[in-house]
């Protein structure tokens, strides 16, 4: 007989952003214990797992127990039989030994679950856990308050953190009943009757049906997991506030109040949508409450805006002397001076240098102190309001970009250069005083900074000499190389061995790296490429084995044997002559075209010739070939099947 199963872990409100990860762990743990697939659902107050088709008990197994040898003394045989609970006559003989075939009853699934579930639940990973039953008690994300564990009609007996499993669930905190007896069949409906929509998908639909599609995905997900019964209400604010920059209004609504901003024809309106955890707002009390909170927030923002305007950004730069960037790296005034110098050094024009000069001044404004996530943006807006040219204010506005790998890079050259200068300065400074990220510890977000530089250089087509900008700091170079690899491999999807091959031939100019990668990716599938790569690896091995360092000798053509050796040499000369003016792709194709000659060489010619002079000359030939053709990529890094 096959049985359905239901587990509901009833908790106090779980942080919305941790819920999906927890469900994944729960599902995985269940599969590992039972071998059954399951479906999982959650609200802030419950993690639910449901499965069907569980067997009632594991099949019985027959276990062989070996005893004494067949020629053992009778007493020993009798003792074995007694111990196994059979008569000596019932013993069987196998391979010269007495054995008993014992039938072991399979364990019931109920037993397995009763023992396994506490462990499965305990293994759910949460970024920050708590204890609540007392020191050394169970740790979980928030206190567990009830557990429903049903296998068919039976409760699976188990206890976690002092809570015994049963068949009683609980409804919405305000609108539902506290104690709801459930069965597997009526569980979801009973929850619904008590104002809990179990399915996240359905809650999302319920929100979107009121707000319309195209809402901010992150905020939507947060609200889906912040509510059990989401109901959207619409509110408005005084249109006067629309005089404030949309960026500020949207930040207040979205980040601080978790409201959806409302646009019409791409323009922000004086309306907002709030997602409540209720079944409605017939008296408008909730709307009015939210409107009042928003008004207070906007008032603050307006006050900050007006106060901040009393002192121009340019006049605020000096105040940065009092804002510490990092204890050993000095103030933001010093940092902005360095950014300014670096932006100029990178080829920035007057506008870029001006933007660099003003870039950090907004850190002294009330607006940024209150809405730190708007740093840069506020500076840009203030610069615009204070009459700075467009090139300048947009560069300030954009200079923290890209804030993630999904984010776009600064829109113009000036912004790109200021952004790069700022990030290089942070990286150099931190590495210089030993603040190097380890594991998950990266308080100055150096990985993000380096990643941002890589993205800007490549996507902004900026040919800047990175290694020089890294001060030739070995640790910083290694750190950077990791970021470059990550970018091309994980973000851009190039194969890891191609990335390794290209980077091994130099990475000072990332635009060039990208061009070489695109070329190698295109040439990779061609017939000659991988075999040639294998030959290059072979050449490298031969040179290594011979401990050949080249000693600067040139190829002596007189020593070349006619046939494959001389052919290879002439072909090599041909290709070399052509390469200089070719773009990467045809260049790689030309190199790949050497393959037949290389193959023939290895086939017919003995590199380790008796005559040391000839041997030396052959090694020189191979080494020259390798060196000449490794400027685009180090082919020996290519992983081949041959």
């Amino acid at each position: 007989m096959s049985l359905p199963f239901l587990l509901e872990i009833g908790t106090e409100e779980i942080p919305d952003w941790m819920i999906e990860g927890a469900l994944g762990d729960l599902r995985k743990g269940f599969f590992e214990t039972t071998g059954n697939e399951s479906t999982v659902d959650a609200t802030p107050r419950r993690l639910v797992l449901r499965a069907t088709g569980l067997i009632e008990r594991q099949p019985d197994v027959v276990q062989k127990v070996s005893g004494p040898a067949v020629n053992a003394p009778e007493a020993a045989v009798a003792g074995f039989a007694r111990k196994q609970g059979v008569t000596a006559a019932e013993l069987e003989k196998q391979d010269g030994k007495y054995v008993v075939m014992k039938r072991v009853a399979g364990r019931t699934t109920k037993q397995i679950l009763a023992e396994g579930l506490p462990e499965i639940i305990g293994k759910i990973y949460f970024p920050k856990t708590m204890y609540w039953t007392g020191k050394n008690g169970l740790r979980f994300i928030r206190p567990i308050r009830w557990i429903v564990a049903l296998l068919g009609d039976d409760v699976v007996p188990l206890e976690i953190g002092g809570v015994e499993a049963g068949n009683v669930s609980s409804g919405h905190r305000i609108l539902g009943a506290r104690q709801i007896p459930v069965t597997i069949t009526d569980f979801e409906q009973k929850l619904r009757d008590n104002f809990v929509i179990l399915s996240a998908e359905e809650r999302q639909q319920r929100i979107l049906s009121a707000t319309g599609r195209g809402q901010d995905e992150d905020l939507l997900k947060t609200l889906v997991y912040l509510t059990e019964y989401p109901t959207v209400i619409s509110g408005s604010f005084d249109p006067e506030y629309l005089k404030l920059p949309a960026e500020v209004l949207v930040t207040v609504m979205k980040h601080h109040q978790k409201y959806f901003a409302v646009y019409e024809n791409g323009r922000l309106t004086n309306r907002f949508l709030a997602v409540t955890n209720t079944d409605g707002d017939p008296d408008g009390l909730i709307r009015r409450g939210n409107e009042r909170v928003l008004r207070a927030r906007f008032n603050d923002a307006q006050f900050f805006w007006e106060t901040d305007q009393k002192k121009k950004l340019a006049d605020r730069v000096a105040d940065l002397a009092h804002v510490t960037f990092q204890a050993k790296l000095g103030s933001y005034l010093e940092k902005s001076r360095r950014i300014e110098a670096l932006a100029a050094e990178l080829g920035g024009d007057g506008a870029a240098v001006r933007a660099a000069h003003l870039s950090k001044a907004d850190l002294t404004t009330e607006m940024v102190k209150e809405f730190t996530e708007l740093q840069g943006v506020v500076g840009g807006l203030y610069a615009q309001a204070q009459g700075e040219p467009e090139d300048v204010w947009t560069a300030i506005y954009d200079h923290y970009k890209p804030v993630s790998m999904e984010d776009s890079i600064p829109r113009n050259r000036g912004g790109q250069l200021v952004s790069i200068a700022d990030k290089f300065d942070t990286l150099r400074g931190c590495f210089g005083i030993g603040l190097i990220p380890t594991g998950s510890k990266d308080p100055f977000a150096l990985r993000r900074a380096a990643q941002g530089i890589v993205k800007i250089l490549v996507e902004g087509k900026l040919r800047l000499p990175i290694r020089k900008l890294l001060n030739s700091d070995a640790k910083l170079e290694e750190f950077f190389l990791d970021r470059i690899r990550y970018y091309f491999k994980d973000i851009r999807g190039f194969k890891y061995d191609e990335v390794n091959a290209i980077l091994a031939s130099g990475w000072d100019d990332l635009v060039d790296v990208e061009e070489r990668l695109i070329a190698i990716q295109a040439v990779r599938p061609t017939e000659d490429f991988e075999p040639l790569a294998a030959s290059f690896k072979r050449i490298q091995n031969i040179l290594k084995q011979a401990q050949f360092t080249g000693n600067g000798g040139a190829i002596d053509t007189a020593l070349l044997e006619p046939g494959p050796e001389s052919d290879l040499y002439h072909e090599f000369q041909n290709v070399r002559g052509r390469l200089a003016n070719l773009p990467y792709r045809p260049a790689l194709e030309s190199i790949a075209s050497l393959r037949p000659k290389v193959d023939l060489f290895f086939d017919k010619v003995l590199v380790n010739a008796q005559d040391p002079q000839i041997r030396q000359n052959r090694l020189t030939l191979l080494q020259t070939l390798l060196a000449e053709f490794s400027t685009i990529a180090d082919f020996s890094e290519i992983v081949t099947n041959t």
């Binding site: 007392g134 020191k135 707002d281 409450g289």
Partner: protein, 317 residues
């Protein structure tokens, strides 16, 4: 419509009915109700405790000269400690909102993750900010550590922002407009000290004097904690045939740790004032916080030793 003070009466009554001692505010400047001994020291150790009190909380940097409708130099918190936290703690909390006239069925209440940490106290916990129609009205924290010590019983700490809550209930846009008592506004009662303390903290406080006071209080707290430690190590204090046998200590309960803690609190407030005055650079900040933290952690440890010496010895045996 209930006045501000009426709301406070009702909340105190509500928690009194649920077994809380109703304490009066601690008579020293603190930044939050958490810092008073009724929370900071009482949450330590294995003894259950329930207490509620209003604590005026001073945050010099939040002063706005009485001009900002929502921000105050000194605001009032209702601090509730339920140690250990009962299983129905959230229902009890929601009941307190009903008790002050909030019909929860007509409002939107959400528990949004908000973990609390106080670097100066070596204390942290996890919990939520409780949002009522988009307004944060309470900080709800399950304490996990205090003074660097794992807590034996996990207390729930409920901190109500009384001005906000009242403004919400009285439908006021500014805390200064809330009615404190019939016919008396919050402005009537508090405006002058908001204005004058803002002027003092931001413009006139004598930085040299504040530093001097800080050092004096730090010195005194450090001296007392040092003497306490010496007492625990020294001969003659222990019961028992040999000095190396651990406690229980004789006469240790007389040692003035509570006064030592007041000096720690003074340090904390002086630090906040110096900070508001702009006298502490970011670099110094970290170092000064570490100094206060060292005292707070030393205090928690000493308090455990003093109050629970007997239990600790029993537990060790």
């Amino acid at each position: 419509m209930d006045s501000y003070q009426e709301i406070i009466f009702k909340l105190k009554k509500y928690w009194s009915d649920r077994g809380c001692i109703i304490q009066e505010p601690y008579d020293l400047e603190v930044g939050a109700g958490t810092m008073t001994p009724e929370t900071f020291l009482r949450v330590l150790g294995p003894k259950p405790y329930r207490v509620a009190y209003v604590q005026p909380s001073r945050r010099p940097a939040d002063g706005r000269y009485g001009e900002n409708p929502n921000r105050l130099y000194k605001h009032m918190q209702l601090q509730v400690i339920l140690k250990p936290s009962p299983a129905d703690v959230i229902d009890q909390y929601l009941g307190s909102l009903t008790a002050i006239g909030i019909d929860l069925k007509k409002h939107d209440i959400k528990f949004e993750e908000d973990n609390w940490e106080s670097p100066t106290l070596g204390a942290w916990g996890v919990g939520w900010q409780v949002m009522l129609d988009g307004l944060e009205i309470t900080q709800f924290t399950y304490f996990q550590q205090c003074g660097g010590i794992d807590l034996d019983l996990v207390p729930a700490e409920l901190t109500y922002g009384l001005e906000r809550l009242t403004a919400f209930l009285q439908l006021k846009d500014s805390v200064y407009d809330i009615e404190w008592a019939p016919g008396v506004s919050y402005r009537d009662v508090r405006f002058a000290d908001e204005l004058q303390f803002s002027v003092y903290n931001f413009e006139m406080a004598d930085v040299g004097m504040l530093w001097k006071l800080f050092e004096l209080h730090e010195g005194e707290a450090g001296r007392l904690l040092g003497e306490f430690r010496a007492l625990r190590k020294g001969p003659g204090i222990r019961n028992g045939p040999e000095n190396r046998v651990p406690g229980p200590y004789v006469g240790i309960e007389r040692f003035p740790l509570l006064p030592a803690y007041e000096h720690v609190l003074k340090c904390s407030h002086l630090f906040n004032t110096l900070d508001a005055r702009g006298a502490i650079s970011v670099t110094e900040r970290v170092a000064v916080i570490a100094r206060v933290r060292k005292l707070a952690v030393g205090m928690a440890e000493a308090w455990m030793a003093q109050q629970y010496a007997g239990e600790l010895v029993e537990a060790a045996q």
